[in-house]
């Protein structure tokens, strides 16, 4: 295996990591500020992917599709918050898990009714389809590169909003003491809805960007949601910085594992051993990583809240 291949896989890992980060950031903010476990966060990811797909087919423009998709995810996210989740803030985590589990069943089936169960593949506009030569002998898809750029921009934006603005200050304050913030005259309900909507848009963005790379299908949200849980457990709950580091670690480890574990085991042990154990081990790798992190640091790598 050449170093160019390794470099490309590393970039793929970063791209997956940033997609995971968009999901993890929203989930961890909702978890931090509202103390709400929202399994339906994966459904918003799926909704974002489907709405964008449908809207870009309807309007014939990718950009319009993206904007409509994001707006639609925002509306649906806030609707879910107002209708169902608001009743759950004061409940324990078990009730939240169960209710949002019900929401997942609903959304997956609704999407299957509207668009069918088969996988769909999102069409990209011409300017995102090509490859770009990073250096001689290596060509990398423009689309994956743009996902990386968008992911990094959102990370910077999030850092700015959370640490430098008044809204961010309220979010951090809400995470450390909800009652106190309310007592100081802040409308914490409104703040919750805003944060939830913000998280929904991030999930929708992750979903619509993942659409052209992976397939768009009912249940796509839960596959990534569980990886996002691993990210949050590794990074530490409530910490955006932890979410970023955790997401990059999980993205890179998962991608490199899938790409190189089989040939490596094949070379070290025997080709048949690599063939048999490689894929199994590769798909278990991030969970084993999680177990190791937990054994050493039970509260994650960045346990700070806020």
């Amino acid at each position: 295996m050449s170093w160019i291949l390794i470099f490309e896989q590393l970039l793929n890992g970063v791209q997956l990591g940033l997609t995971l980060f968009l999901m993890a950031a929203g989930l961890t903010l909702v978890l931090g500020i509202m103390n709400l476990v929202n399994l339906a966060h994966g459904s918003l990811y799926m909704v974002g992917a489907y709405l964008t797909l449908a809207a870009s087919q309807w309007t014939g423009s990718y950009v319009a599709g993206v904007l409509l998709g994001l707006a639609g995810t925002l509306v649906i996210g806030m609707l879910v918050e107002v209708v169902a989740l608001r009743a759950l803030y004061d409940r324990d985590h078990l009730d939240q898990v169960l209710a949002t589990f019900g929401l997942i069943l609903f959304f997956n089936e609704l999407v299957a009714m509207l668009w069918g169960r088969a996988s769909l593949y999102a069409q990209l506009p011409q300017y995102l389809r090509g490859h770009v030569e990073l250096f001689s002998g290596s060509s990398y898809p423009v689309y994956r590169l743009s996902v990386i750029v968008v992911g990094l921009l959102v990370a910077v934006l999030l850092w700015y909003v959370v640490t430098q603005t008044r809204l961010g200050m309220l979010i951090r304050a809400g995470a450390s003491n909800r009652t106190m913030v309310a007592a100081l005259g802040i409308n914490i309900r409104l703040l919750s809805t805003v944060v939830f909507g913000f998280g929904a848009v991030l999930a929708g963005l992750a979903g619509l960007m993942a659409g052209p790379i992976y397939s768009v299908q009912p249940g796509m949200g839960e596959l990534i949601l569980i990886q996002v849980f691993v990210v949050i457990v590794i990074g530490g709950i409530g910490s955006v910085r932890g979410a970023l580091v955790g997401a990059l670690i999980v993205g890179i480890v998962d991608t490199l594992g899938r790409a190189f574990l089989k040939p490596m085991l094949g070379a070290m042990l025997s080709p048949t051993a690599g063939e048999a154990a490689g894929p199994a081990l590769a798909s278990m790798l991030i969970y084993l990583l999680m177990a190791v992190v937990l054994a050493l640091r039970p509260a994650g790598l960045f346990p700070a809240r806020g």
Binding site: A84, R91, F101, L105, E109, I226, F229, Y287
Partner: protein
């Protein structure tokens, strides 16, 4: 207080005992199959109730042991081992070992972490099941032969299998009841209601919780072994997060920390599913909101109608 409860139990058991001849007489043998499946899954729910209801450990990964029990039967079958007692021993032993490993790491944490970690580990086993090409991979595998118990009971006879499941389900209910009301169970429940005080009177909760986690995993492994015999087909989907969520819902719907709750919940959930499936292919679009409503408005579960949960 005790008498009406005992009466309810006797009536329910009598109904379950009378069901096979009754439905055969009515020409609806399908119900033997349905209720048998419900009773097998009820064993899984009863086992989850031990850690979830009485131990306060919200495990979102209980389907893992269902899968391990089923794969134990399937894999032994591939290599020509058909002895049912061996199947059970391996299913229970393997589930207990995996529960020990998962529990040892997860019980160090609590709250949201515990939920996410148990879910993640089960997902790992799910992917392991998918990548086991030798044993069917994604498509799953057909059971070579049902577990065989010499002349004792023949699982190919639907009615005999039904009664075996009934006996084992009642055994599981009884076992959990005894565990919960033992000294061990008192520590477990104490650690749930107030961890600090439990420590203060000299009990470290960790070993008690871990032991309960292993017992629950082992019981669910037995349910998995039965389930493989019931469906004759073993798929990785048995370990999927939806399956874990289903088992959790059975416990909550019936009423956590009550003796009969998980059994009631399993019957209720699967009957509702069966009815909705009869209406429409897209039954989950109805079931989902129903579950949300039941969580928001129906907080004590079905068992709460009959009596107050005791923990």
């Amino acid at each position: 207080m005790k008498t009406p409860r005992l009466l309810l139990w006797s009536v329910s058991v009598a109904l379950l005992v009378a069901l096979p001849p009754l439905v055969s007489w009515l020409g609806q043998p399908f119900y033997i199959d349905l209720v048998r499946r419900i009773m097998i899954l009820a064993i899984a729910a009863v086992s989850l109730n031990l850690i979830l209801g009485y131990g306060g450990m919200v495990s979102f990964g209980h389907a893992a042991y269902l899968g391990i029990g089923a794969y134990a039967v399937g894999i032994l079958g591939v290599y020509g081992f058909t002895n049912g007692l061996l199947h059970w021993a391996v299913a229970i032993g393997a589930s207990a070992l995996v529960a020990l490993a998962i529990g040892a790491v997860s019980i160090r944490t609590s709250g949201i972490y515990f939920i996410m970690i148990t879910l993640a580990f089960t997902q790992m086993l799910y992917y392991l099941g998918i990548s086991l090409e030798l044993f069917g991979g994604d498509d799953g595998m057909r059971l070579k032969s049902k577990s065989q118990f010499g002349g004792l009971v023949d699982l190919r006879d639907p009615v005999a299998f039904y009664y075996l499941s009934l006996v084992l389900m009642l055994g599981a209910v009884f076992l959990v009841h005894r565990i919960v009301h033992s000294r061990f169970g008192m520590v477990l429940r104490a650690a749930k209601s107030n961890e600090g005080r439990t420590r203060a009177i000299g009990f470290a909760p960790y070993p008690y919780r871990l032991a309960a986690f292993v017992i629950a995993g082992a019981m669910c492994g037995l349910a998995g072994a039965l389930y493989a015999n019931h469906t004759n087909y073993i798929v990785p989907g048995l370990m999927s997060w939806q399956q874990s969520g289903d088992i959790m819902f059975m416990v909550i719907l019936g009423g956590m920390a009550s003796t009969a709750g998980p059994v009631l919940g399993t019957f209720a959930l699967l009957f509702v599913e069966e009815i909705l499936k009869g209406w429409t292919e897209h039954w989950q679009v109805i079931l989902g909101p129903l579950l949300v409503l039941s969580v928001i408005f129906f907080r004590r579960g079905l068992a709460g109608i009959f009596y107050k949960p005791d923990a």
